[in-house]
Subunit: 342 residues, 2 copies
């Protein structure tokens, strides 16, 4: 059995100071009084705080490695974000190592522990769907590790964030459908505890309301995978008053809806229009090609890495956390009708 | 400016022994004579071989981290391989960190250098398209780091390998096309210096020859992206004797061909059959859905990780390098005709 390894937190608790004070004391940070530095170092010695001492010595001399923690690289969106991150990182002389949480809270905690004891200069995180407790990430920040959230951010943690303007992206997509004459617009959405699920649905409802169309609960379905769309599209089309458009929370759900609608002999976009979200590779291989909301994933990655570099390069500035929003773009293809001539 | 950092190689050169002898001497490996161990440690001391000493101390106590080096995670094949790797790794208590070479030799060398001085227990590598010199990988092995190649292996290096049976996969696909009545089968292929390009083309030619169809150079095109297929498909269809089938080296090339053929009003599969390779996500969103060769990517990842664990857990066995081959499976969908009743 492994014996308990002494962490910065233990030392902080023992001395009644914050973990970041301990961390900075060990690095001889000028903000920390000589007396405190001495106290910290004495206790560190006494408690045989070895492993992290190694990590700290390495950290103080920069590893030029940053870590990216993502839910799943199989998604086109995340692999595109990573391209953007690497573009900026490599230019700045940094190496990028990627970890997948696989949407599992336990995995994410594990990875965070690994990073805490490892020599990375900073971390970029997009949280998993199942993460509801954030202390593992808070600890990284407390240990003095620069951390920036991208796409899926934690509201409760004060840290730099880069997010997609999901609300406006959804609003614009649905408004476009309305302008092309659609009136019964269904929404295939993600779980509402996820910001992307919540914000995209809000954007959808808001666009309907702006155009005085009563939102109809019967047209709002929890459906965010290709297979669910194959199953639920026929059900919604059998309503007494079926939809004339579907706005889906992602491209794969949209392609599932497209396939089901074609099997039911609906003409796309004449009978039913469809808009997806992501504008990934699949959007260009369907027939007709899929209209979709582009999230500028690579730009998002670039911005996140730039913010992280700012934190790494000038930790002494310690400016308040910033949230940057990346705007979306509606890319129109064959699954939507042309705008009427005005 | 950074001063030259002493490496295991420098010490090996100085003493006229192999780097792996140095590495094992530092770990007090019983195979190394006490005299040599003493010699090595003395020189290490003298040359102030510090940074790697830290890495070694960490390595000797297992980090439970393994590294995966892949060309590009945006490809469905590679992200699926990584899923398989993670399944086995996490079960065995290992963390997986992923590095992208982005098909660039320089990046791959950089990553290898990073791994040499880092505390990973093993490495899984699929080499980049542009890598033609392999000394960066050979050095990792010389330093005693267990390394297994997957999919794109280096022929020249003696190490465990897991590869896809590209030859048989291609052979079976083309033979199926012949059995459904196709006689003028084109091949859209990858560069021939890549094993996957070479083996899949060989499988194609071999199937034609088995069925006494003369291979025709005019039908073999260097074309391995969606965009190239959009451009080259119309050209090949304008030949005096155009193809009645296309066997493409990957799914995205196959979808490009499908799109171009539909634009030219060919009926699929009646006029032209198509088979892709990978059986990724895109294969199920085209219309008709794409017949494709499944590479069992996840199984390949699992097998590679199992082989790596064997090397990590029992380095003393030091058995000869093994090459495992993962078989493929032809998945038939709407872009191929049914077999005639026999």
């Amino acid at each position: 059995m492994k014996s308990h390894q002494v962490t910065i937190k233990d030392i902080a608790r023992e001395l009644g100071v914050s973990p970041s004070t301990v961390s900075r004391a060990l690095k001889d940070h000028p903000d920390i009084s000589p007396a405190t530095r001495h106290q910290v170092k004495e206790l560190v010695e006494k408690l045989k705080y070895k492993p992290n001492a190694v990590a700290l010595s390495l950290r103080s001399r920069r590893s030029y490695i940053i870590a990216v923690v993502v839910p799943e690289i199989v998604h086109y969106f995340f692999s595109s974000v990573i391209s953007g991150i690497e573009d900026v990182a490599i230019n700045a002389g940094y190496n990028v190592m990627i970890f997948q949480s696989n949407e599992k809270y336990e995995r994410e905690v594990h990875i965070a522990q690994l990073l805490a004891s490892n020599q990375v200069d900073g971390v970029l995180v997009s949280i998993s769907k199942t993460t509801k407790n954030f202390s593992h990430l808070r600890e990284l920040i407390n240990e003095g590790l620069p951390l920036v959230f991208f796409d899926r951010a934690c509201e409760e943690i004060e840290a730099d964030k880069v997010v997609v303007d999901d609300f406006v992206g959804a609003f614009n997509a649905v408004e476009h459908l309305i302008k092309t004459g659609c009136r019964r617009i269904a929404h295939f959405g993600a779980p509402q505890h996820l910001q992307i699920g919540y914000q995209r649905k809000r954007g959808y409802i808001s666009a309907l309301e702006k155009h005085r169309i009563e939102p109809d609960e019967a047209l709002m379905v929890k459906c965010d995978t290709h297979d669910e769309a194959l199953k639920l599209t026929p059900e919604i089309m059998r309503l007494d008053n079926p939809p004339d458009a579907i706005f889906a929370v992602n491209d794969l759900t949209a392609t599932g809806a497209l396939k089901a609608l074609k099997q039911m002999r609906f003409r796309i976009p004449e009978d039913v229009s469809i808009i997806g979200f992501t504008n990934g590779m699949v959007a260009t291989v369907t027939d007709p090609e899929m209209s979709s909301v582009d999230q500028h994933a690579s730009d998002l990655g670039k911005k996140a890495m730039e913010m992280l570099l700012n934190r790494i390069d000038a930790p002494e500035l310690n400016h308040p956390a910033i949230t940057e929003t990346i705007s979306t773009e509606l890319v129109l293809r064959g699954t939507t009708r042309p705008l009427p001539l005005s």
